[in-house]
Amino acid sequence: MALTTRDRARLSLGIQAGLFVAVLIALLFIMDWSAIHRSFFDIERIGPMFPDIITVGLVNTLQYTAVGFVLGLLGGTVLALMKLSSFPVYRWLATAYIEFFRGIPAILVFLALGFGVSIAFGWNLTSLQIAGSALGLVASAYIAETLRAGLQAVPKGQVEAARALGMPAWRAMVSIQIPQAFRIVLPPLTNEAILLTKDSSLIFVVGLTAGAAELTKFGRDGINIYQAGLTPLVAAGACYLIITVPLSILARRMEHRSPRKK
């Protein structure tokens, strides 16, 4: 029996759909749906988590992330310029920094800032200071590489044209190279913001007071408080998605609207 290519494609699609329906039906019968409801979606019992999980948890997560991102942008810009510098010592220092912070787990940086700094220097840092600077230190390393690649992606002729008009090197960089690099790096920077949002949860390793609690802390404490199984974690996860999914859509839009030609 000779099957045409189209018959074969239709058959393959039919088999896949059949399998999917079979698994679905099996799950319906096997799974204990009331247990799943109790463990993951017991919304009634976690009612008291609201509105604090939004007004405190989500807001704190956003704050830690925002401070980390801004510090990361500043540090990343400096490191990227150091990496592109003609002075070799700057290049080595920037490379060492970037390799170090990309190579160690972010949780070590949180622990170092949360416990190490107060032991070593006797400073008492707030949760915002710890989370912001820990995220900023790590993000600087990643953002530096993104910015460097973006600057180098601007065609050489652009800076040459600017210099030929009589712009000093710094002016060509500020007015011509950086604005064009900025468009190139917006999508990867948005992805970096998503990673930072999730990494802000690491602050819970150093302990948080009630006012400083962010989403993960809310989720974890909720497990003990509400007797609703893992439902508080699901709620926390949903809150993260409220932040990260729009960012992700934004990044994809910007990638599609890539203006570069030539």
Binding site: G157, A162, R163, A164, L165, G166, S175, I176, Q180, K262
Partner: protein, 266 residues
């Protein structure tokens, strides 16, 4: 920018600059691209630089405004000693306009902003003055209605005309053109050449790298033929193009003027 530099800039309006090149050498690693070039261009003169691809024409042009650093030799442009290690390169470049084969307009800026960014940011001209001057130059190249467009909304020929206008807003005393029509669709070449001809007639000093022999013949005061990093022949356009003396010049012109002959000779 300091006051003396501003004063220096206004001196560009005194008139076109001459260029003197002596003993110019340039190598990339072991590859010696310019092997001792001597050449001079009088103020207001139009010189067309012709020669096969790879003969060093672009490199020579780029040494004049020091986008490339020569290994030896001297270049003077007007009152500027281009090869002096202490020369103020930015100030010198403000007197020298350059037009590239690939236009190199700034894609993130409008046509008008392309023309005003350097006058405003470097010469610190007030916005209104810079825009008035930019519109004057855009009118000169016939594109004032497109002032608010982005470069990517323009045809190649229009982009190149904007690039010329952008260079002119700096009131240069010398214009360098590196194959300004080589990347253009044939039907837009004429507009760009017409503007260059007007500029020549207005008395601008111009060094033009081109393969447009008809343009060279009609507009150039002098034609310089380069081959493998050396000036092989130079003289009035009618002589070099119409009656070349050197075998290499004859050979090159035959190829350019009758491209279909190439296969037979090779």
């Amino acid at each position: 920018m300091t006051e003396p530099e501003l004063a220096e800039h206004s001196s560009a309006e005194d008139g076109p600059a001459g260029v003197t090149i002596t003993g110019l050498h340039k190598a990339y690693g072991d590859n010696e691209v310019l092997k001792g070039i001597d050449m001079s261009v009088r103020p207001g003169e139009v010189v067309c630089l012709i020669g096969a691809s790879g003969s060093g024409k672009s490199t020579l042009l780029r040494c004049v405004n020091r986008l490339e650093d020569p290994n030896a030799g001297t270049i003077t442009v007007g009152s500027f000693e281009a090869t002096d290690p202490d020369v103020d390169l930015d100030a010198m470049r403000r007197h020298i306009g350059m037009v590239f084969q690939q236009f190199n307009l700034f894609p993130h800026l409008s046509v008008l902003e392309n023309c005003t960014i350097t006058p405003r940011r470097v010469l610190k001209q007030p916005k209104e003055d810079a825009e008035a001057e930019a519109m004057t130059q855009l009118r000169r190249v016939g594109l004032e209605e497109l002032a608010q467009r982005r470069p990517d909304q323009l045809s190649g020929g229009q982009q190149q005309r904007v690039a010329i206008a952008r260079a002119l807003t700096m009131r240069p005393a010398l214009m360098l053109f590196d194959e300004p029509t080589s990347a253009l669709d044939p039907e837009t070449v004429g507009d760009v050449l017409a503007i260059m001809r007007q500029l020549a007639e207005a008395g601008m000093t111009m060094i033009v790298v081109t393969h447009e022999m008809a343009f060279a013949r009609e507009v150039a005061d002098r034609v310089v033929f380069m081959d493998q990093g050396r000036v092989v022949e130079e003289g009035p356009a009618a002589e070099v193009i119409g009656d070349p003396q050197q075998p290499r010049t004859q050979d090159f012109l035959r190829r350019v003027l009758n491209p279909t002959d190439v296969d037979i000779r090779d």
